[in-house]
Amino acid sequence: MSPRPAFASDRLAFLLSVVPYLIDHPGVPVAEAAEHFGLTPAEMQAQVERITGMGVPGATKTYGPEDLFDIDWDALDDEGRIYITNRVVIDDAPRFSAREAAALIAGLQYLQAIPGTADTEALAGLIAKLSRGASATPPAVAIDRGVADDALEVVRGALAAGVRVEFDYLSARGARERRPVDPLRLESRDDVWYLRGWCHLRQDLRNFRVDRMENLTATDAPAEHTPDEIALSETLFDPSADDLVVEVRLATSAIPGFAEYLSDDSKLVPDGDGFVRTSIRVAHFHSLKRLVAAMAGLLTVVAPPEARRAVADWASAGVERYRNARAEDG
């Protein structure tokens, strides 16, 4: 939770949640309550003071003192502790909305793909609790169990033990190399898992697709770089000065799935029926030609000419395989 929730509905959720917390924890120090909700002590104190002005229109249809929350002001001023002395209507935490419960349940199902996070039985019990704790039936949002990749288990173990891993990896330019890597974070986008780590071969931070690693082993060598020492960016693919800029024509229907190649300042210029023109950054033609060939009819490279040629040659080499096969058959 950010210190100052940007949305009114988040601030309402906070008010509805902090009151039962304070009732359950009489005399809690301001600093402790603040830390629990991710606020500064000054912000927490301001929130507590504001709650004391609120309540219900009582028997007289006006807000009398007995109808408002109140606290022990001396305890707050002298000891920095919060005691609610007059409480109004609510005692317990609110239920989850149907969508909140659905989002949590689907998130838990997704975690089953990570080996060792929780056993199936514990998750099933937790999911049942969430369904019961929702104010309406959660909409059915589900995630398949995913592909249990043995490599994920090895990387997870190395991360936990703080040791270096080694694996063979095809570089973006297509060369196979043995990479010694200090694991920093296992990160995923849907069913694709990446290891973010410090590569001793490149002496820099690198991302690796777990399903591209070969001959993966956890070594005995302790990792020199650890997750708490290196701050990783929130985005997986940071633009680099070496990137190639390529102009493309993209089907509008394919834009959502293409978001990771676009940046906030990408211009999408309408270009005829159902298409836009834009430019994207790629590390090398090696990855570009694969991307374009997997999106036939949806994505076309417009410029530069050498990028067009790389894609055309790649596709033509693919077609050639079938021509040869036919010739052999005949």
């Binding site: 009114a8 609110p94 969508r99 998130g107 975690l111 909409p139 995630i143 040629r309």
Partner: protein
Amino acid sequence: MPRIVPPEERQFALVLALLATEQGLTKEQILSTVDGYHQKYVPNGDNANLERQFERDKDTLRELGVPLETVDAPGQPGNNQLQSYRVSKGDYELPGDIAFTPTELSLLQLAGTVWREGSLSGDMRRAMIKLRAAGVEPDGPMLGYAPRLKQLEPAFGPLTQAIERREAVSFPYLRPGRTVARTHTIKPLALFQFRGRWLFMGLDYADHKLTFLLSRIVGEVTFTRERFEPPPGDHSAEALRELEHLWQRNTATVAVEPGSDAAIRLARRYGGTADGRLLVVHYSDLSLLADELAGYGPEVTVLEPDHLKQAVVSRLEATEWAHRDADAAAGGAA
């Protein structure tokens, strides 16, 4: 001058007032007495703005899962001026026997990070705030993981809403190989991710079950206002089971270039088997597999089935045709 009440304080006062009332409060009573409204209320005057604000606040409360009840006045069904509103405490509060252990809480927090992007991120933020009400501290955050679900398709938000509201929706859908989208009207039952793709399942006008890929919904999802009663059952679990069967049943045989990207990744594909250069791969959707295989270019050749082979060849030919320049081709021939 009366003090300006921030929206969350007005909404908080509304929740408290609705929880406190046994028989319910009419709109008139709410606007004239509840903090945040009564300051702007004009007795016997025009309160249209205030009424609109009340409508928006009701939406916020529902979004947060506050179970708002409407009670018709005796003998006046449907008269919303006389309708009254209340919130039952039992339906509002988390049942007393539901508590989370520190281990469960750290799992839930990790599950929460999964939805950092997209249309459920707000719901997840609020769920995380509510989880703190119990005062349980998670037993150590799970460092070293950043699992994320992308759900980038714009249809995701409206579809979850439609499932929750049990309302039929219409949307344009482009089947692979077609150039013109067809509009479908579907009663949505379940939304699910299978092998990294978002799909949804629902009933058509004849109550036949149909499954759609979200990425092939090429336009806006519109609500039809037609409500329906879903048949009983765990539809998403059932749909996932059916897709799993389909995946097991459908196989293709391909030859891969040893040591290539295709060889490494296709050999890891779930459920497949390898025999030297020959791999058997499973799939649930032939055109998705054809897209993926076309991306590998000359690193993979489809041996069977025949329609997959044709689908890959036609994709590669289309890509070559779209990227081969006349002068380059001439130069190549010379």
